[in-house]
């Protein structure tokens, strides 16, 4: 076993190089695909038009040429549009207009065409960028929460929670200069496992009792917010397990 150690090093080095090479391959560029231009319909397209009674859409599918053209949005009036009252009187019913150009079926068709035109794929195999996009969306979704629409990202969530837990005293002399920086470690259930005062040396050295009280209030606020932290998205735990909180009442002026 004279060469045991060198052999071990050699094998480890090979493993490291191999890992790096595989890593590089894993991070290969996306295969080129056709970029599909989708026409966005702005909110004003929907709100600035007069109320109408639409004719039922024609049975025949919309032509592809129609989608390829950018639809012209209706002009946005300078003054707010006053909605008209629709009465039962047939004479008052405005002339039915063409259905809007936005059509989900047509977009789906266009997507299908894009897939057909791409030589790299078969109908049963998803495109590489579709996989990546889906994975990215999953990650984003886990960071955003359950997708209820009321959930916000971790940073905004923690900020909002701390605003209701952190007590400030505007009558304290120089309160706006008493900045406190904490590193807060949380477990996956949002429980505070550690609070480290990052500028503690300065606070102690200052001999300023108000600053020390501000430090205690910040720490106390973190513990008070424990219940709120339990609602942080668990999928994004890596993001918020160690968070640096800067309490700076002077920054709001």
């Amino acid at each position: 076993m004279k060469f045991g150690l060198p052999i071990s090093f050699t094998i480890h080095a090979a493993a490291v190089f191999g890992g790096l090479l595989l890593w590089e391959q894993g991070a290969s560029e996306f295969p080129e695909v056709k970029i599909i231009n989708l026409n966005l319909v702005s909110v004003t397209d929907k709100t600035n038009i007069k109320p109408t009674r639409k004719k039922p859409p024609k049975e025949e599918p919309p032509k592809e040429e129609l989608l390829a053209d950018t639809p012209k949005p209706p002009p946005i009036s300078e003054s707010p549009v006053v909605p008209e009252v629709i009465t039962d009187n047939n004479e008052d019913v405005p002339t039915p207009k063409l259905p809007p150009k936005f059509d989900l079926d047509a977009i789906a068709n266009q997507l299908g065409t894009a897939r057909e035109n791409n030589l790299e794929v078969t109908p049963n195999k998803p495109l590489q960028n579709e996989i990546t996009a889906a994975e990215r969306a999953d990650t984003q979704q886990s960071r955003a929460g359950e997708g209820t629409g009321n959930e916000i990202n971790s940073e905004d969530y923690i900020r909002q929670a701390m605003q209701s837990c952190w007590q400030i005293d505007e009558g304290m002399k120089g309160y706006d200069k008493l900045k406190v920086r904490l590193r807060v470690t949380l477990d996956i259930d949002g429980r505070v496992t550690d609070v480290d005062v990052l500028n503690n040396a300065r606070i102690i050295a200052s001999g300023n009792a108000s600053w020390q009280a501000a430090r205690e209030k910040a720490i106390s606020g973190v513990y008070e917010c424990e219940a709120s932290f339990s609602k942080l998205p668990k999928g994004a735990y890596e993001d918020w397990k160690s968070t640096e909180l800067t309490f700076d009442p002077g920054a709001m002026k």
């Binding site: 060198p6 080095a13 605003q163 009558g171 304290m172 606020g221 008070e224 700076d248």
Partner: protein, 454 residues
Amino acid sequence: MKQMKIVLTNVLSAALIALMAMLWATPASAQLKVLITEGHTEPTPIAIPNFLSGDPATDKIARDMAKVITDDLERSGLFVVIDQATYIETQTNIDYQPRFANWRLINAKALVSGRIVRVDDTRLRAEYRLWDIYGRSQLEGLVLIVTEDNWRRIAHKISDSIYKKLTGETGYFDSRIAFISETGPKTNRTKRLTIMDQDGHSPKYLLGGSDLVLTPRFSPFIDRDHRDKPIEKLTYLSWETGRPQVFLLEVETGNRELLGDFPSMTMSPRFSPDGKKLIFTLVKRGNSDIYVMDLRSRSTQRLTTDRAIDVSPSFSPDGKKIVFNSDRGGSPQLYTMNADGSNVKRLSFGKGRYTAPAWSPRGDLIAFTKSDGGQFHVGVMNAKTGKGERLLTSSYLDEGPTWSPNGRVILFTRETRGVNGRAEIWSIDLTGKNLRKLPTPSGASDPAWSPLLP
């Protein structure tokens, strides 16, 4: 063999470099950074159970002590004491750590637990601990020994200790207020110099009501007599000699003294921060100017020489500056000058009349009375620049601000309209919140706040 070593060295070096490269390439665990600039300003919820007592004779004091502390802290506006009926835990021994979860359930952020123990026939020992409920730790533990008839002072001292631990600032509860008691209608009002605890307890007349007295002011420095007992000093204006003159009074002994027998009137006296000098206004040949008197030698020095009316001087807490009121600019405004009278600068430039300035013990603000548009206000402004004026109160007549010893609260006189209008003392927090009427035995005006008692 040599070649083998070289190869081995090269392989090891490559492995090491690869390892370092990998470590460098690995992204550091990203730490979320959150800037918090806004918080809430609600008062701190605090639990104060009755103090424990091992002796039925001290049970009442134990209960009353908790009540005095409760009242002190609530009056400050910075704390809200949670109703005792909601407490889940009953403490039987303050030497054991409380169950923090029980206090978190009722939303207490701090807990005060205390005990009274009789030491001998006349003395009590008060012990108290302050707990941080969310921090799960003891913030303070104190033992105080006191004669039984002085238990209220110990309660105030405990309030001061709690206040300091939770706010970082010195408290003001173990202090007193001198004021002018007023009885009778405005046209024939009797005014007597009175003193009481800052919470309105134990009022005592210091002088009879035969002579008109005004503007009492405490010495910020508490002297000690030959037996090392503290001596509080007051200066005030009295018509005792037939004309307004400045007097000095020792509160504990009742000794009083006319300060300088000037041929004309002297008024608006105030002590220097070290208590060794007195600053006041002296009217000579119809012109009022500011003078300073050395209380040991009784020598006086004129500080202002302007032909305008210069009144109401007040020292800065470091004794280097003086703020006063003068109409040299056409209307009463505030001015500052050095303690020797040099470098006079106008401080206020606002609309209306600015009077009765009082320099904050913190040094950063000056409180004043302002009259404008038929209303009187008590306000504060930056002591250096005169900017940042904030009017804290407004009424038919608000005047004469005086600072608490920690510079957090302002007392002032509020008088209601009409012949039967009544003068009262009110307090307001520096932030403009927590406006409260101070309990006084009768009408009251001209409050002056003492320094913290030793």
